[in-house]
Amino acid sequence: MLAALLIVFREVFEAGLIVGIVMAVTAGIAGRGWWIGGGAAAGVLGACLLALFAASLSAAFEGFGQELFNAAILLVAVAMLTWHNVWMARHGRELAAQMRAAGHAVKAGTKSLAGLGVVVAIAVLREGFEVVLFLYGVAAASEPGSGLAIIAGGIAGLALGVATCVLTYLGLLTIPSRHLFAVTTAMLAFLAAGMAAQAVAFLQAANALTALGATLWDTSWLLSDRSVLGRALHTLIGYSDQPTALELLVYVATLAVTFALLKLFAREPAAEATA
């Protein structure tokens, strides 16, 4: 039961962090519950569907279907996160002013909410896929009795993942609201950069990218990216204990592009306050 708990928790932990951040980012925006809940539900459904077709996915692209699929959806998530950040840089100020004036949730930002809904769906889909395969394997193979204990472990692991999500959300909400926007903008930028680097790692594993494949450093003796803290940092800022040159290049480039776009759009006069 403990083994099942650990396996499931490790998978949902990452998704929990991402969903918690997205919840904090959208705090106070009307209708966000639908988008986040819908995204999570779509992710679970997608994970079940994907598990059904696991065999054909694995066999696709000469055995690298999983890697290419992961890279593709990660890049979609990177695009959505960047889009949201840029959109908020443009409209965030008006949004915040409206929120203060009205003293409650505003009906705005639904467009970028859709983008964040996609990010949630992708995070849940990626982690959920392995959980579904694992639990299905247990349910199919185990003798009655021990299967139940493992399912119970799985549910406990899932609950811990949800707790991670809630704690991340509540933790971020303790940040004073005038700083929250700056903090979450930076967090989303690092999240996107880390995902872009992960996508590169998947493409390298599939031999789709071979350039700059040399490992730059090995800090696994200091902090393994398989440890709990390492995994958290891996998700939050893209920490890798043995990154390749291309991973680092794409990581830095994503950050640079994001912050350049933010500067570019934040400078534009807020002429469309009434739009």
Partner: protein, 114 residues
């Protein structure tokens, strides 16, 4: 528009990077075959040459999915029932590299690189 333009530029950069160094990395990989049956690796101590990229082909003959994982090899790959998973590993220095099935922790093996 700016977003699309920068994304295109990034894509062009990536493609360019692949083309320039693609030829160098095409050195022949050593291939290691491993099968999993009744949650046992066969062979449980496969051998591979040092200083050459390795392709590990894991054939899962069980009726449940497994996850081929190794911390030292930096590998984590789900292999569906009755399919073969293909894993690329960078050139390794001589040594023993443990691997296991993350879904069935008692299923373990070691890649011996020499």
């Amino acid at each position: 528009m700016v977003l699309i333009a920068t994304r295109r530029a990034a894509a062009a950069l990536l493609v360019g990077a692949v083309l320039t160094a693609g030829g160098v990395a095409q050195a022949q990989n050593a291939v290691v075959h491993i099968t999993v049956k009744n949650h046992r690796f066969e062979p449980s101590e496969p051998r591979a040459p040092a200083n050459r990229p390795i392709t590990i082909r894991v054939r899962n003959l069980d009726s449940t999915a497994m996850e081929f994982e190794s911390v030292r090899l930096r590998v984590e790959k789900v292999v569906a029932p009755n399919t073969e998973g293909v894993i690329n590993v960078r050139a390794l220095s001589p040594g023993r590299y443990e691997f296991f099935d993350d879904f069935h922790k008692q299923t373990r093996g070691t890649l011996v690189v020499e």
